[in-house]
Amino acid sequence: MGFYLIQSKHQMTTAKNIQEQALAEIAAAADIAGLEQVRVKYLGRKDGELNRLLRSLKDMTEAERRKRGPVLQNLRAHLEQALDQRRAELATTTSDAALLKLAAPLDFQLPKIGHLHPLTETIRMINDHFLRLGYSLMEGPEIETDEFCFRRLNVPPDHPARDMHDTIYIEEPKYLLRTHTSSIEARVLEKYKPPFKVAYPGRTYRNEKASKTNHFIFHQYQGFVVLKEASLKDLFGTITGLFRKMYGPKVVIRFRNKYYPEVEPGVGPDMQCFNCAGKGCAVCKNVGWIEMGGAGIIHPNLLWMAGIDPKKWRGFAFGLGLDRWVMAKYHIQDIRTLLGGDLAYQYYQHESNL
């Protein structure tokens, strides 16, 4: 590129000087904003030094314009190229000083964390176990009929097993508040055709005075399968798997015979007391074991009543009390805390539920 003396209206300068100065300033620009100032200084439409020279071409003769015009245009192109190159460099290799200047701050005003109820967290953990085993989830009405809460579960009127339930009635004897979530089992058996594997958490009611240890409202987790073949071994494996998920691989479970009208044979799963490792303490009432619920092979009468042939289908059912699990996990002393009142969540604390 050649360099020419250019006469303007107000001052004289050389294209060479402009080129040297502009290239030096482009190289020295520390950030994009500084580079933009250089661009405006030399190539700005209004007052850019190179633009002023270009505008002065109109005052020159035709011969001078032909000679010098291309030179200035080449210079302009050269500077634009240098600007682009430097801009690209700055975009990838911003100086530490520039980064410091640009650094975005953090706001230490923490957002409050939302929380799920401990019962929900526990139910989800159990749901996860059963969903992995291919179970469906189910729900059912809390205002139940005698038919689904008792009769279809092999508990006819005046059956001694009704003593196990202190029932709250809405319209005795027909309408009541379900005393157990087994009523959902009765409804599934009535509505669907086997095979199925179903799990269902739910709220239940008993006519008891509320105290620190007992409540007239509590929560159960039940489930059942009806398949071509299902055995106590399958049932024990299912329950043991769940307990291991909840309490770790070292949990000790025992299964004993227990009576429930809706199953035959009946099963009572107990967990060795986590507090005393079976030695006996206040938590386990000195027996070393904690009752965890009930289970068993579904009584054939339930299947008959649902129009399912027990000679072709067999199933097992299980039910677990949730409230005491939750109380133990969250160190809650008063069962009433689970239903309002004193249950609170720390604004910025959470538990891992992965």
Binding site: P111, K112, I113, G114, L116, H117, L119, T120, L133, G134, S136, L137, M138, E139, P141, E142, I143, P157, P160, D163, I168, I170, E172, V188, P195, F196, K197, V198, N207, E208, F216, I217, L227, E229, A230, S231, K233, F236, G237, T238, R254, F255, R256, N257, K258, Y259, E264, P265, V267, K285, V287, H299, P300, R314, L338, L339, G340, G341, Y345, Y347
Partner: protein
């Protein structure tokens, strides 16, 4: 049920197991040990084993029944207690007692013949009551009963050992026969405990004489009570239709040691042994003689059921191999009679096992004695896949919970039972309250009609404890009655309390909108609600619309109206019917993802509507006019209330139209607006 270890050892000769081992063995087979106490009995160290007998086994509430169970566990036999009554006669019922009956008529009759399955009665004269001997006094006390006097303690001892309740009645206080029948004459009865029972003459049964109620089926009366001075008595042992016992027990709210046994299917044939055992105890320890013949009402002889049983069943039910020989051995230990066949066996349980009626019952007997502890429990079953029948609302509820918690809200569970006053303040639906009939918690007699009751209580509790962040939600049922139908709806309740009161409803609105849109709703709108809870501001109550359907309400609350205190201040409440929401979401199936091939044309427009007109409805109409396939979005950029009108600035983004086409469409649609 408590048993004395030394007594069990005496009844089961050869038993080597310790008391703890016996208790643990019983626990695994169905009688859970819930206590083991070291005691001194008759001057020797002993143990009392406490058992929870929840089985439907009527024999479980007797020492003999427990002894038979222990014998079966250890493969031993029970030696029934032999009482040598004086004067001794020929044994008649297996007790070995051999009591001698007199020749006079026994003063008894049964009027309610279909309710009394068996009753035996005899009268005793010349008996001498007094303090009990040490062994008897200690025995009844160790097993949880009060020692009263010899005759009463004998009565209780006989019941504890045999499982059959009995009554001893002072004959000198009786007038006429002892009669079993329905009560038609008496209004009240003073029980042996001194309490007054208001009789109802509504089908309850009594044991009565000509002038007094002598006993209900659960408890005796004071009228003919045995006392220290009793010298002549009438003794009875009877079993009834268990349903009658349960009904009477419920009617009078009385549950006794006697009623707990009589409510089960006690074997009527066992009455003979129980009566003879009782009679022998009386004659042996209180002296005297039996002055009457034995009265024996036994209209239908009880025969244990014969059950067809496949010896392969126990193994299939248990999931392990149980050879037929093992099943046979177990059943014999349990005293079942077994007639083996090539494929099926015919099994007859002992008479006292009235609970065993079907093949599955026999399976349970075999498997529990083989031992649940011998069934592997460490493997998850490999079941075949089954259809997923999970209702969609269950997945929706979980998504709702996640979304709200992620938005900083806390979940609560509250009481679904409440007070009529709170329901009246919180309800906004056209339904009546669901009232419980017998709830013993008088402060909670009705089912909640809205989740507001629990949320408000929780919010107030938080504020009283200086918790500042009160943004709560609950998922649960609300209940009501329409006509004769009980209804319950799964709802989401949401309560938002923030200090900037004027913005409380918009804060709640934004939470809801974010929730709904996150769940897949394309349209979320609001329109003035026809009704809100009493505690809401009627000028700030809206119906919430999702995809054009009403799914709930959003309102500003004035909780002080309800509680009289101002601890909470301005608050917003939303309640969403999740079943309606699920339906509304499911109905809208338009996919949001598209292949965008042209740039969007974005044009603004003004829209003026009379105040109170529904903007969502109008936007819906505009969308239809433009043609849904050409609408990318319509956004409300600004709102200007102007007198009785409201002016909105809209930004409409057109798709799949050229610039001139979009402008032409825009002009057509908005020319009149």
């Amino acid at each position: 049920m408590k048993v004395l270890y030394s007594h069990i050892k005496k009844l089961v000769p050869g038993l080597k197991a310790t008391a703890r081992e016996v208790g643990e063995g019983l626990t695994l087979t169905g009688f859970m040990m819930d206590g083991l106490a070291s005691v001194t009995y008759n001057g020797k160290p002993d143990h009392v084993i406490s058992l929870e007998v929840r089985q439907n086994r009527p024999d479980g509430l007797s020492v003999l029944g427990v002894a038979r169970e222990v014998a079966a566990i250890y493969g031993l036999n029970v030696k029934l207690p032999v009482l040598k009554a004086k004067p001794r006669t020929v044994p008649s019922s297996g007790s070995g007692a051999g009591v001698k009956y007199g020749s006079a008529r026994s003063p008894a009759r049964v009027d309610a013949k279909n309710k009394v399955r068996r009753a035996q009665v005899a009268a005793f004269t010349g008996v001498k009551n007094g303090p009990s001997p040490r062994w008897l006094k200690e025995y009844v006390e160790l097993l949880g009963m009060n020692s009263v006097n010899l005759l009463v303690d004998i009565s209780n001892y006989a019941m504890l050992v045999t499982g059959y309740p009995n009554h001893l009645i002072d004959q000198h206080k009786m007038r006429g026969d002892l009669a079993w029948g329905y009560n038609t004459r008496f209004d009240r009865m003073t029980t042996l405990l001194g309490t007054t029972l208001e009789l109802q003459k509504k089908g309850e049964m009594l044991i009565q004489d000509d002038v007094n109620p002598i006993a209900t089926l659960m408890v005796g009366s004071r009228a003919a009570e045995v006392t220290r001075g009793t010298s002549a008595l009438v003794a009875e042992v009877a079993v009834y239709d268990p349903a009658q016992v349960r009904r009477d027990s419920r009617t009078f709210h009385v549950s006794t040691e006697a009623s707990r046994r009589l409510e089960k299917e006690l074997d009527p044939s066992g009455v003979a042994y129980a009566f003879e055992f009782l009679a022998a105890l009386i004659v042996t320890h209180a002296g005297g003689t039996i002055s009457t013949k034995l009265f024996d009402h036994y209209p239908r002889k009880f025969q244990p059921r014969s059950i067809l049983f496949n010896p392969a069943w126990p193994g299939r039910f248990a999931g392990i191999e149980i050879p037929p020989a093992q099943s046979l051995r177990v059943l014999k230990h349990l005293r079942f009679k077994v007639a083996t066949g090539k494929k099926m066996w015919r099994v007859t349980p002992p008479a006292e096992r009235t609970d065993v009626t079907i093949g599955e019952d026999v399976v349970e007997e075999v498997v529990r004695l083989v031992g649940y502890q011998n069934i592997p429990s460490g493997e998850l079953p490999a079941f075949p896949p089954t259809p997923d029948i999970t209702p969609p609302i269950i997945r929706l509820v979980e998504k709702v919970r996640d979304a709200l918690a992620a938005n900083g809200l806390d979940e609560i569970y509250s009481l679904p039972l409440t007070t009529p006053a709170l329901n009246a303040a919180a309800n906004y639906r056209e339904w009546s309250q669901v009232v419980t009939q017998n709830a013993i918690n008088e402060e909670y007699p009705v089912m909640r009609q809205s989740l507001l009751t629990g949320l408000l209580a929780q919010a107030q509790s938080y504020r009283k404890k200086n918790l500042e962040h009160v943004q709560l939600f609950e998922v649960g049922k609300v209940f009501g009655k329409v006509g004769r139908e009980y209804q319950e709806r799964e709802c989401l309740g949401l309560l938002v309390h923030i200090s900037a009161a004027p913005k409380v409803t918009t804060a709640a609105q934004h939470i809801l909108e974010q929730l709904f849109r996150g769940l897949g709703a394309s349209e979320v709108g609001h329109r003035p609600a026809a009704a809100g809870p009493i505690v809401s501001n009627p000028h700030a109550a809206w119906e919430v619309l999702v995809n054009g359907k009403a799914v709930g309400i959003l309102c500003q609350l004035q909780p002080q109206k309800l509680t009289g205190n101002t601890v909470l201040g301005d608050t917003a409440f939303c309640e969403v019917d999740l079943e309606d929401l699920e339906r509304s979401l499911r109905a809208a199936t338009h996919p949001a993802a598209i292949e965008l091939t042209h740039k969007l044309i974005i044009l603004d427009a003004n829209l003026e509507l009379p105040r109170g007109d529904s903007l969502p409805d109008r936007l819906h109409e505009i969308c239809r006019q433009i043609g849904e396939r050409h609408v990318w979005s319509i956004e409300v950029k600004d709102t200007y209330p102007a007198g009785d009108k409201v002016r909105y600035t809209l930004r409409v983004s057109y798709r799949d139209l050229s610039d001139p086409e979009a402008k032409q469409k825009h002009a057509e649609v908005f020319v009149d607006n």
